[in-house]
């Protein structure tokens, strides 16, 4: 039935003319193509305009670090939008996660816990605290049948207040120095000559201060953590029954219910998952900045939604992929970095991202037109 095709991330393709199939394929990979073209543009333009090169270890790693919060917020959002919902609370949940993990790390360190243990406690404080919010979201949406837009908007305000109160309206500082967890990396590369040149694993080589500028960090720990989370979420979405149910719920809520899917339980889990990835994003930012901040997540909400839409998640629900969200996040980050390297005001990124989002939605709508699928009357 169509459920298996939906699980592959798209509408059924059997019975279409080759021309239509090509258009359909293009509509699915256009984000990849756009990213490739954009990268190519910057690779060519940046050296012409200035003395920098776009393709460098440092640049590529900066981009990976920059997409960490957007990808993590986008992961949960992908699940939610595939289920034909939306989660507007992820920005503030990220802030709550940041504050909770900072307080937990500071508290457990003051009780004498070794730093690594404090960090682990901080992770669970941020992730689990956030999942509570997500569960509440899910319960109200599923059991009380309130539209997701309204519920998550409401909880976003509540979470915001809680985060500000818990942080006592300031940055949570006084943590032990955990910057290494947030900024050190799996690999190091020392450029140029010298006896320390080349790759190093896990530990940076001891370098005199003036040689530090030749040190590049490859795969900083937040990027590694994000990659693991992405892999786990991809597995859940594409290889488990839970994932298939998510697509089904987004495709047609009533049909899913009649097919025997425990819709309420699934919805609660979906929103809990969304909040948990946001909480992890907050935890990672606490590591990166060595402090918890209640205001850190708010501006990232819209970027994460833009990334998800650009990545090809259908606003009608029932279709989309995690990889698409990662591509969408990369498009935003590559754009910002490229503009800085071209010495163009970074504000242009907003204009470009806005245009790309609208193009993405148009492609999404035309894709459904081609296949002949009309917008479902499912809950949104």
């Amino acid at each position: 039935m169509t459920v298996s095709h939906a699980a592959a991330g798209g509408p059924p393709v059997a019975g279409l003319s080759p021309g239509k199939r090509l258009v359909l394929l293009l509509s699915r990979v256009w984000a990849w193509l756009f990213l490739a073209v954009m990268v190519l543009f910057f690779v060519v333009a940046v050296p012409i305009v200035g003395s920098a090169t776009f393709v460098s270890i440092r640049n590529s790693q900066n981009i990976l670090v920059a997409i960490v919060p957007i990808v993590l917020l986008g992961l949960g959002q992908t699940f939610v939008i595939i289920s034909a919902g939306i989660d507007l609370s992820v920005g503030w949940v990220m802030s709550l996660g940041s504050v909770l993990s900072a307080l937990a790390i500071r508290g457990s360190a003051s009780f004498g816990a070794p730093i690594w243990l404090a960090v682990v406690i901080g992770f669970f404080a941020g992730a689990l605290g956030a999942s509570v919010v997500g569960t509440i979201n899910g319960v109200i949406i599923a059991k009380l049948k309130v539209p997701a837009f309204i519920v998550t908007l409401g909880t976003s305000f509540i979470v915001r207040g809680v985060a500000l109160l818990m942080s006592e309206n300031t940055t949570v500082i006084g943590l032990p120095d955990i910057r290494a967890y947030g900024n050190e990396a799996m690999f190091y590369y020392v450029r140029g000559g010298g006896d320390q040149a080349g790759f190093h694993f896990l530990h940076p080589p001891p370098l005199p201060t003036d040689m530090l500028r030749q040190l590049d960090r490859i795969l900083q720990w937040p990027v590694v953590v994000t990659a693991v989370v992405v892999a786990i979420v991809m597995f859940i979405l594409h290889r488990t029954q839970f994932g298939r149910h998510t697509y089904a719920i987004g495709g047609n809520l009533e049909a899913a219910r009649r097919a025997g899917i425990p819709v309420d339980r699934r919805l609660i889990a979906i929103y809990a998952l969304s909040a948990t990835t946001a909480g992890i994003a907050g935890f990672l930012s606490t590591l990166e900045y060595n402090g918890g901040s209640a205001v850190i997540g708010d501006p990232l909400l819209l970027s994460s939604i833009a990334a998800v839409i650009i990545g090809g998640v259908s606003l009608f629900g029932g279709a989309g992929t995690i990889i698409g969200t990662v591509i969408g996040s990369l498009i935003i980050a590559v754009l910002t970095t490229g503009l800085v390297m071209l010495s163009v005001p970074a504000f242009w990124q907003f204009i470009v991202v806005g245009v790309v989002v609208i193009v993405a939605v148009l492609i999404d709508q035309s894709r459904d037109l081609i296949v002949g699928r009309t917008s479902r009357g499912s809950e949104s």
Binding site: S51, A52, T171, N183, Y289, N290, S293, P299, M341, A346
Partner: protein
């Protein structure tokens, strides 16, 4: 303070006295990364560009769209990754959270000069954070005290006043809050201070919060908005409530909007910082450092001018109004 200004003057004279092109190998390139879009930083940018033009230096500017570490750090990282900047002149948006990112920039070979705000405790000679080249900014705490004294005089040394600030853990406004509250506590014990409240540098929120306080305290005598948006927002709320002229407003930052309010009698005092000086001197310090000067002062107080009805037309004072052109 005088000694620091003399040192600054000496550094400038040393640079100016050098014949053009006698500096160390090649031209330097500077990055400018202020905190956010606002008239104060726009005037600072004018100072940066003026000095760059006078000294023949290239400047690359990026401005975060709102005040926050997640907005400033990616721009900072990208500017460092360019590989062609020797110095970055910046206003760190959090005095603790941005230590790591700026340290990483410094390690990558880009020297840091902070303007308006500082990292750590601002003492780059003896404090916990020592890597930046210099901190140029107003003596925000002293400014807060001056505002407190001026407001106390205007309201008869008694009553309730409201302290409205922007973001917590920012060095500049934090010092203004401290100066204001301590001066009130020490010298004007009959005045009650409500706040500080934080409007997150959003003018709309500033208006809302002030309106709420007016509701709760109908006898409110004064409001101190610690920066551009707080002051403008508070003035709007006071006007809307029909209390213009009855509630004394002290504004930090001499923007065109605040000056208009001063003219209309809504605001009694406007404190003008010297962002042009901060920007100009910062570039000069970068050039001096590149030329081999080693006595660059770690801290320069750029001073301020207090404008009110009596002196706003005096060109010696009106020149400090923030004009973006």
């Amino acid at each position: 303070m005088l000694k620091k200004s003399l040192l600054a003057a000496a550094a400038i004279i040393a640079v100016a006295a050098m014949p053009a092109g006698a500096s160390a190998a090649g031209k330097i390139k500077i990055g400018f990364l202020p905190g956010v879009v606002d008239p104060f930083y726009q005037v600072m940018q004018k100072g940066v560009e003026a000095a760059a033009k006078d000294l023949g230096i290239d400047v690359v500017t990026q401005i975060p769209q709102s005040w926050g570490v997640e907005q400033e750090k990616p721009l900072l990282d990208a500017m460092v990754a360019r590989g062609d900047l020797n110095y970055i002149i910046s206003a760190p948006v959090d005095k603790d959270q941005m230590i790591g990112p700026f340290q990483a920039a410094n390690d990558a070979g880009v020297k840091i000069i902070t303007v308006d705000t500082f990292l750590g405790d601002g003492d780059y000679a003896n404090g916990p954070v020592k890597f930046p080249l210099s901190y140029l900014g107003s003596n925000n705490e002293q400014g807060g005290r001056l505002i407190a004294d001026g407001m106390a005089k205007s309201i008869g040394d008694k009553g309730t006043v409201y302290l409205l600030s922007t973001n917590p853990n920012v060095s500049s406004v934090g010092a203004r809050e401290k100066g204001f509250t301590e001066e009130m506590k020490e010298k004007h014990p009959n005045i009650t201070v409500i706040g500080p409240d934080y409007d997150l540098d959003d003018q709309q929120k500033a208006t809302q919060m002030t309106a709420t306080v007016i509701e709760q305290h109908p006898d409110l005598a004064g409001v101190f908005g610690t920066n551009v948006f707080s002051a403008q927002g508070a003035a709007a709320a006071i006007t809307n409530a029909g209390l213009g002229g009855k509630v004394v407003i002290a504004s930090w930052d001499a923007t065109a909007a605040n000056m208009e309010n001063l003219n209309k009698g809504l605001v009694s005092q406007v404190l003008a910082q010297k962002p042009f000086d901060m920007g100009y001197l910062a570039v000069e310090f970068a050039a001096a450092d590149a030329a081999g000067v080693t006595s660059i002062p770690k801290h320069v107080e750029t001073g301020f001018a207090i404008l009110d009805k009596t002196n706003e037309s005096d060109p010696n004072f009106s020149r400090f109004i923030y004009k973006a052109n």
